[in-house]
């Protein structure tokens, strides 16, 4: 038997103790079959030489796949690109999101329309986002190129997506454009929790805006910003469509992240074993990030409690 129901819930709502399990069973079974089971299989495949041509005929080869990946200098580049892509997405995605949320938190005419408009990139399919940005970056007729030329910034005629220097920034521009609306909406919601009396009192006291932000606004929204940063990090580690469609991970691996590398190994080079091992390394990184985040937020919480 479980713990007794809280009194508020009352006897009328108590049913068979099996009811909750009956209710959750189909979903749990489904997630085991489609997510957890395959995940375990992925773990196994990463120790085999399974190929795409004969997925059932993999032989156990121990740690060979991992050894191959770790000693591969290309893979070191993959890790660096992944770190840069993730850091760029988090810094600019959250930064722009925070700025936009602070702007939208003011009263102005047409605010609700503005709020609705702000979120639409996030609703747009990534494939469409990649499509429009690839056209805007077009070397000859793309609006970015034309803009650069008219500002006299560059000799032009270079497609950012074909440049080992500019491909990653270009992919980041498209990515950030799509993701910052989400963080802005969530941060905006958190801003509603900032006690307005405290803020007004601080303004009457002639505290300057920056100070109000630091002492009143930021402490209220910090946990949300931290959580959104975690999500943005994890989502950047798993993002595939925008990168793959814009650059395919190129040129020369300049935008090749863990996920595009996984896809390339598994479904271009047809080496499912190596792809699986890359996947396991990706999962390890995502787990470490999540644990670090929980450790940090636990400590911040304890510090806040200690200060109170």
């Amino acid at each position: 038997m479980q713990r007794p129901m809280s009194k508020r819930r009352g006897a009328a709502l108590e049913g068979s103790p099996w009811t909750p399990y009956v209710f959750i069973f189909p979903l749990v079974a489904y997630l085991f079959a489609i997510l957890a089971g395959p995940l375990l299989q992925e773990f196994w495949i990463s120790f085999t030489d399974t190929s795409l041509m004969r997925p059932d005929a993999g032989q156990f080869i121990g740690l060979s796949n991992y050894r191959f990946i770790i000693s591969d200098p290309n893979f070191h580049q993959v890790l660096i690109v992944t770190a840069l892509y993730t850091a760029g997405s988090v810094v600019f995605g959250i930064g722009l999101g925070l700025g936009t949320a602070l702007l939208m938190n003011h009263d102005f005419r047409g605010r609700s329309v503005a709020r609705a408009l702000v979120t639409i990139p996030w609703a747009a399919p990534s494939v469409a986002v990649a499509l429009i940005f690839s056209w805007m970056f077009n070397a000859q007729y793309g609006i970015f190129t034309i803009l650069q030329k008219s500002l006299g910034l560059a000799s032009g005629a270079e497609n950012w997506l074909d440049s080992t220097t500019f491909a990653l920034p270009a992919v980041l521009i498209a990515t950030v454009w799509q993701i910052f609306p989400f963080s802005s909406v969530v941060i905006l919601a958190a801003l509603q929790g900032v006690p307005s009396e405290v803020k007004e009192a601080a303004i009457i006291d002639r505290a300057d805006r920056l100070n109000v932000f630091k002492t009143v606004t930021w402490p209220t929204i910090a946990p949300t910003v931290a959580l959104i940063s975690l999500f943005t990090t994890i989502w950047s580690l798993r993002r595939f469509d925008i990168i793959w469609i814009l650059t395919g991970g190129g040129p020369l691996g300049a935008t090749n992240t863990l996920v595009t590398e996984l896809y390339r190994e598994g479904f271009i080079y047809r080496d499912l074993g190596t792809a699986a091992a890359i996947g396991m390394i990706g999962l390890l990184i995502a787990s470490v990030v999540t644990l670090l985040y929980y450790g940090a937020s636990r400590r911040a919480e304890m510090r806040a409690r200690g200060a109170a």
Partner: protein
């Protein structure tokens, strides 16, 4: 603090950045092709050329792509809702051993890169003959959509007062009847919002479709359109028209359901 001009200015810049790529899609789609491949760009859409949106149906197999996307999206929605309603109710109303584990498990699914499951799912689907079928895509998509739907619906059930259900309970209704007859109608707006989320999860999905679908006539729009990027076989104005037709439903439905979508998601992430 009433709308002082620097704020309005900032808002306009942000809105400009957000709207511009969509606007540029429209400009590109409606500009005569001979004026696109020159270095002085046309800057305004030409509304006399809206005929491209009809023309494109004969130039690109977009009708078949959209039909496939619709089937995948609708199937994903139905499967997500079937899988999610009862667990969401259970998470909201019952105390049971393993509840925290379930909540954690749902959260973990959001951390998993889809790409991680490509390899094993490819193997599983191959043996079940689900490769090259839309059913396979629906099954894979629902596994990622259902946890989000469950989480948002749980938040909606939390907001219903217990008393409403107690009356029905005293009348001898079973728990299942209460969920379907009493609780579910009360969360109808959220249910609609989750349906929109699940639908566009399926509509937008690219990775599984790209990997599992080989046959040209089974391609959904995401894969079809991705194939047009950087190709010059189809003129760019028609490519952009295709992109607009594919994007428009996502944005229109999102704007309609926006209030519920945003409140559901923010409730999940701020409080969750």
């Amino acid at each position: 603090m009433k709308g002082t001009s620097p704020f309005v200015f900032g808002v306009l810049i942000v809105l400009g950045l957000i709207v511009f790529p969509f606007y540029w899609m429209l400009v590109t789609a409606t500009t005569p092709p001979d004026q696109l491949m020159i270095e002085t760009p046309t800057l305004v859409p030409s509304f006399t050329r809206l005929g491209v949106f009809v023309e494109v149906f004969s130039a690109v197999p977009i009708a078949s792509w959209l039909t496939n996307s619709f089937i995948v999206a609708a199937g994903t929605t139905v499967l997500c809702l079937i899988l999610s309603v009862l667990p969401a109710y259970a998470l909201s109303r019952f105390r049971f051993r393993g509840k925290a584990m379930l909540a954690l498990g749902l959260f973990v699914t959001q951390m998993l890169p889809e790409a991680m499951l490509l390899v094993p799912l490819y193997a599983v689907f191959r043996s079940l003959e689900l490769l090259d079928t839309l059913t396979g895509l629906i099954i894979a998509n629902a596994a990622f959509g259902a946890p989000i739907v469950t989480w948002i619906l749980k938040g909606a059930f939390d907001a219903i007062p217990q008393e409403v259900e107690e009356a029905a309970r005293i009348d001898g209704c079973s728990r299942f009847d209460i969920v379907m007859g009493v609780a579910l109608p009360l969360v109808a707006p959220t249910l609609a919002a989750t349906a929109v989320i699940a639908f566009f999860h399926g509509w937008n999905e690219y990775l599984f479709a790209q990997t599992f679908i080989n046959a040209a006539d089974l391609r959904p729009a995401s894969v079809g359109i991705a194939g047009l990027v950087g190709e010059y076989a189809v003129p760019i104005h028609l490519v952009m028209a295709t992109g607009i037709i594919y994007t428009l439903p996502s944005i229109v439905f999102y704007l309609i359901a926006q209030r519920y979508v945003v409140s559901g998601l923010t409730a999940g992430s701020v409080k969750g």
